[in-house]
Symmetry: C2
């Protein structure tokens, strides 16, 4: 689903990644992280697609919300397991959304 | 491939979309637009994934480069056909990438 974000400005965290072959526990953790993110203050929505490469974008009210989410305890564990086990490579980009526009048939 | 972007700041254009059932000519045009984008001044790279939803992110040096690309003649035609025929819905977000970090095994 295209995330129903409010009018800009707001923030986007673009997480582009490739997985390793060791995916033990990954799927459950990914689902848990989506549920946990939704509970965070300042969370505005997310979009996620995977083919071989995965792109997950989460949208946030401000940098403070992003910082708190990065430091959340369960999320810290997920990030650690991601580096140790699940991700072959990733890039995270913190972005200020300055403008948006859309189209719906 | 994760786009090998330079150090921030730079810009990202996040294009999230769903396709219609009428995809005549879409694939060829999408490939042509990738080739054409690469030739534009200020183009830094792109990442694209589709499952049902598609996310394509293109990276640019500055807002001026994004504006010129939006107004490029062939791209204008592609945008028009997209609205008339190929896209069920889309959202475009223009973003200033303030910070990034990555990981590679």
């Amino acid at each position: 689903m295209i995330a129903p974000t409010p009018n800009p400005p707001y923030y986007a965290v673009i997480f582009t990644n490739y997985l390793t072959e060791n995916q033990d526990g990954y799927h459950e953790m990914a689902e848990r992280m989506v549920e946990l993110a939704k509970e965070q203050s300042g969370y505005l929505g997310h979009e996620s697609v995977r083919d071989q490469m995965g792109i997950t974008i989460s949208y946030w009210r401000d940098l403070e919300s992003i910082k708190k989410w990065k430091e959340e305890a369960e999320h810290q564990l997920a990030q650690q397991l991601g580096r140790e086990q699940w991700y072959q490579s990733f890039k995270t980009r913190i972005c200020l959304v300055e403008k948006d526009y859309g189209f719906e048939r």
